[in-house]
Symmetry: C2
Subunit: 335 residues, 2 copies
DNA sequence: TTAATTTACGCAAACGATTGCGTAAAATAG
DNA sequence: CTATTTTACGCAATCGTTTGCGTAAATTAA
């Protein structure tokens, strides 16, 4: 029963003295094939454990029934939850999800996008890394054949599908909460400048300050790439020169770096400085003193992004309507 | 320049008045093609942005140059690090890595394995979930065509490739350390019974107790599947009936559940009960009171597993030598 | 100068599945 | 009983590449 080599249609056709096309149609329960023949073929196929070769099917049908998702880092809980949402929808609709990581390298990102296109994924979910121009370059050269939905970090133009959370609103709320706690010198540890999430979060932060009559001090705003080194230098410099009484951190990693840096300060600062940051880490609430968290609806974002993508993939009519979904984030651990 | 449809070999051959085979060979720099022709073909191909269709290539060559890795959950830092190690090696050797999650569902796992086989992945890295028999069933039916390396949770027989950490040693050290701290009623929150890691960790735990002259109390040993519900019930029951003075937790999730449960106890127990657990979470060291961590060399495990797999894939001679690598884990945050 | 070899290319089969079309035999219509 | 339709199947092209083999022309050997 253990075949050394996977069974193919022609094996069945020889064994049953039928043509390959008859076997193929019989397995798909085609009305062109007699009931008796179908039964014979199907039972034989299941007996010898026949599984269609997906490579061959893909080549013929020009689709692969899988979608790709490219994220910076799967260990980041935010992205892991997004992936889970995507899988939830995609699997229900018969699609597989292939996960790629860029580790925040634009070069890797470009290679992956090229590969995804060459492997003929049916669609792509993308949160493009810092340097957007190169990536757009590649996306153009891929051609219009690859449906794309952007999430989290998204292009500014309106001719694409996008799913984000309301970064402005979340940043506004988080900063306002810090102000309510009596903080005035609120530092903002921002992500890479120039990308959508950084811009919006900065805008929300600034608006909250101005709304409370506090002027925005550029010295308290620090951009970090995703290198630990850069973030630490920024934190050290802020502490040496400005001693903020609160931090608003723009990403999972930055939140924890802030937290760690603050914990290393001498008391009473260590327990007085408040931190609020974007994070979906499942165990963030265990930290004492608290790390207040802006939690994004990552699972839902993934679900919606996947639905948008699969809808455009399976859509028959060509006139595309670009969607732009914005979901609210919630502020937690605010005691 | 933007082509609506990907360029294929026949497009080039028509444009240049050459045969498809000549174009194909020219692009591979075959010695059978004249230098002049090669130049023309290559420059034209790059001008029109030709990218070989990987589906067609795979069908012809009967390999896909990608390997699959199946993990329970990518958000688990241990597995995320493993994946990173695998990618590191695989990418250097020209292979792509496709990541799948089982969410600890055997049914999903089986479907994924089948899919991996049908999509003709060149190899598979697998940490099989609880119920091993079904999975083995599937692996048999796939046939001997799919090279597999097991990691973390591994089969007991010796006719397969395996990469693990020294679970016995790690559990022995962790338990011994708790004993040194003066703890005697040490509970063991174990994973699903019957799988390799659970068995070995239990053995190390028991050996450490016996070595210190402490008898092993079965009431203090609790198996949990990966459902939060079950773990919480176990914890509650332990606290109500036995009030352990320390916990040894067998996985990332269990470690954090223990920690959370203990923190909810009334003082002074909350700060007296010590916890040591397997975890690779990058921010575990920020917790106060401390969560002592058994950290596995996940990145290296991934690297080694990928090397073993790629070596068997690219090996010409058929005589396989099964490898069994065991790496040490280290105990951290022991103040 | 003839024979043997090399160079540079084209033809066509393969990989495994799908599908439009053709066609005997059987069933139904007239 | 002939004409038409239906049933049930096979042939062969196709998806995009790769590659064994064949072969004219060009080169080298004798």
């Amino acid at each position: 029963m253990d075949q050394e080599r996977p069974v193919k249609l022609s094996d069945i056709s020889k064994a049953l003295n039928l043509s390959v096309s008859t076997v193929s149609r019989a397995l798909k329960d085609s009305h062109e094939i007699g009931e008796e023949t179908k039964r014979i073929v199907q039972s034989y196929a299941s007996k010898v454990n026949y599984r269609p070769n997906l490579i061959a099917q893909s080549l013929k049908e020009m689709n692969t029934r899988y979608i790709a998702i490219i994220v910076p880092e799967i260990s980041n809980s935010f992205f892991a939850e997004i992936v889970n949402g995507v899988e939830f929808v995609a699997n229900n609709r018969g699609y597989h999800v292939v996960i790629y990581q860029t580790h925040d390298s634009t070069e890797r990102e470009i290679n992956i996008i090229r590969d995804v296109a060459r492997r003929k994924a049916d669609g792509l979910l993308l949160s493009p890394s810092t340097n957007q121009t190169d990536v757009n370059e590649v996306m153009k050269s891929i051609g219009a054949k690859l449906p794309v939905v952007y999430f989290d970090r998204v292009p500014s133009d309106n001719y694409c599908h996008k799913v984000v959370c309301d970064n402005y609103q979340a940043a506004f709320e988080a900063t306002s909460w810090l102000i309510q706690q009596g903080k005035r010198r609120i530092a903002h540890m921002a992500g890479p400048s120039g990308i959508s999430i950084s811009i919006e979060r900065l805008a929300g932060y600034s608006a909250a300050l101005l709304h409370a009559g506090i002027s925005v001090d550029p010295n308290l705003i620090r951009y970090s790439n995703f290198l630990a080194r850069e973030a630490w230098d920024n934190l050290r410099d802020l502490e040496e020169k400005y001693q903020p009484d609160a931090y608003f951190a723009s990403s999972d990693r930055l939140s924890f770096y802030c937290y760690e840096a603050v914990q290393q300060l001498p008391e009473p600062r260590a327990s007085e400085v408040k931190i609020v940051g974007f994070t979906n880490a499942p165990f963030a609430h265990l930290l004492r003193p608290k790390l207040s968290a802006i939690v994004q609806p990552a699972f839902d974002m993934g679900k919606i992004a996947a639905e948008m993508l699969l809808n455009t993939i399976t859509k028959k009519n060509k006139d595309i309507e670009y969607g732009f979904i914005k979901l609210p984030a919630v502020l937690k651990n605010t005691e």
